[in-house]
């Protein structure tokens, strides 16, 4: 279980995040949805332990998060594979870091259907293939929580749907807790069992929506559920009202 209590973060005397309170149960999949630059990625960095809150506390399984840990692995938008390592060597790195046997690396590549490309370097792989390897590398570290920082944003729309579907099926099968950061409403609704709506800066979570759409393997299929459009229109209205509020404040 992950628990955020009054988490705030300031950088260069600017308040980025203010009083974030959030409880995430083990195995839960949530989306953090908000405008670009609202501080969603900063929150992921705080949860991962790569950054420290200015105030407030984060607890993972009742232990305060004070440093990065392989139990909370972050997956970046642009995969961040090591370019000097082949696909399989990238996986092996995660295993070596945990002092695990590296000959199981191929199994992790097989999970994302990349076993036939094990000996290719990242520059020889397509964007979607790199992202698959990035996910496999993160899973190889055996985290409890996967922190996805807009992992599908750099992919073209044709494969984005396919990869998002495959990856979400995989993490559900492995019973991982997932926190997805995105500014894409479709993606947030497809992935999240719960969607947390961010305000503009200084950001806080203003609303948590429980999503009751039947989850399918394909991102495009969620639009067959009429509730999808209700959620979508609610979210659009929510962000428009934020803009109006900000305009009034500036006037």
């Amino acid at each position: 279980m992950l628990s955020l209590k009054n988490v705030s973060f300031s950088y260069d005397q600017k308040v980025i995040l203010k009083n974030i309170n959030l409880e995430i149960k083990s195995g839960e999949i949530i989306s953090l949805l908000g405008p670009s630059g609202s501080g969603k990625s900063t929150l992921l960095n705080l949860i991962s332990g790569l950054a420290t809150p200015s105030s407030g506390e984060i607890f993972h399984n009742d232990i305060q998060v004070l440093a990065p840990s392989h139990s909370r692995v972050i997956i970046f938008q642009d995969h961040q594979l090591f370019p000097w390592k082949t696909a399989i060597e990238n996986i092996e790195f995660a295993l070596k870091a945990q002092n695990k046997i590296t000959n199981t690396a191929i199994n992790f590549l097989a999970m994302v259907k990349m076993q036939d490309f094990a000996h290719l370097y990242p520059h020889q792989l397509s964007g979607g293939m790199k992202q698959r390897v990035g996910i496999a590398r993160a899973i190889a570290a055996d985290p409890d929580i996967l922190l996805l920082d807009e992992p599908f944003a750099s992919l073209d729309p044709f494969i984005r749907h396919e990869i998002a579907g495959e990856i979400m099926s995989l993490v559900k099968e492995l019973k991982k807790t997932v926190i997805l950061v995105t500014h894409n409403i479709e993606e947030a609704l497809f992935v999240g069992e719960k969607v947390c709506l961010f305000s503009t800066r200084p950001a806080t979570i203003l609303e948590e929506m429980k999503i009751e759409i039947k989850k399918t393997k394909h991102l495009i299929d969620i639009k067959k559920d009429p509730r999808y459009f209700e959620y979508e229109s609610y979210i659009y209205k929510y962000f428009s009202s934020l803009k109006d509020l900000k305009r009034e404040e500036s006037l």
């Binding site: 991962s48 840990s69 961040q80 390592k85 995660a94 520059h123």
Partner: protein, 196 residues
């Protein structure tokens, strides 16, 4: 030519042995960087040939001054290229290693060293060229053997042909050595399509 190459080999080798660990140390440790950087930055702009009088006083005439000058010529380039390579490592790559809780040694061996290798290698290649230039200068002034000395003697006896042969030998040898460097670079940096 063999004598000159041997001098470059020793001087360049010494420069690499000193500069690479020192470069990593200065890039990764703030205290050593604050302490050593001003020192090396002060000596960096001094041309290798300006060290010649001191080199003759310290080592006499022969191999000593030539090896010393080739070492000085390569040292700063390799040192600062190594440092630059480490400083340019992507923060995200280091964060990945931190997230996986990789040990310091594993992070150095599998992230820091390979990530900084292109810059380090570029420094080695440049340093070798500079060493080769320095050895000829040193041999012209303080040596009784080597290509530089041969050109000097030829000049005194007005043998333009030998001077030109000496110059061509320097050019071809440097070109060949650079070709070898290029091949080594292509082998070790296959991951970045090394063509330079």
């Amino acid at each position: 030519m063999t004598v000159s190459l041997l001098r470059v080999g020793i001087g360049f080798g010494l420069a690499s042995i000193i500069a690479i660990p020192l470069g990593f140390c200065m890039a990764l440790n703030l205290t050593s960087r604050n302490f050593l950087f001003p020192f090396f930055n002060f000596f960096r702009p001094i041309p290798p040939i300006a060290w010649m009088p001191l080199a003759i006083l310290w080592f006499g005439i022969g191999h000593g001054p030539a090896v010393f000058l080739t070492m000085i010529a390569a040292l700063f380039t390799i040192l600062f290229s190594t440092m630059m390579g480490v400083e340019e490592i992507s923060k995200e790559h280091l964060n990945i290693a931190r997230c996986f809780q990789a040990s310091k040694w594993l992070t150095f061996k599998e992230v820091i060293f390979p990530a900084s290798f292109p810059s380090l290698f570029h420094g080695l290649r440049m340093g070798f060229g500079l060493s080769w230039m320095a050895v000829v200068g040193a041999e012209m002034i303080a040596s009784t053997s080597g290509l530089g000395h041969m050109i000097n003697v030829a000049q005194d006896s007005l043998r333009t042909d030998i001077v030109i042969i000496g110059m061509f030998t320097i050019g071809f040898t440097a070109y060949f050595c650079d070709f070898i460097f290029k091949k080594i670079g292509a082998h070790f940096m296959i991951w970045r399509d090394y063509r330079a």
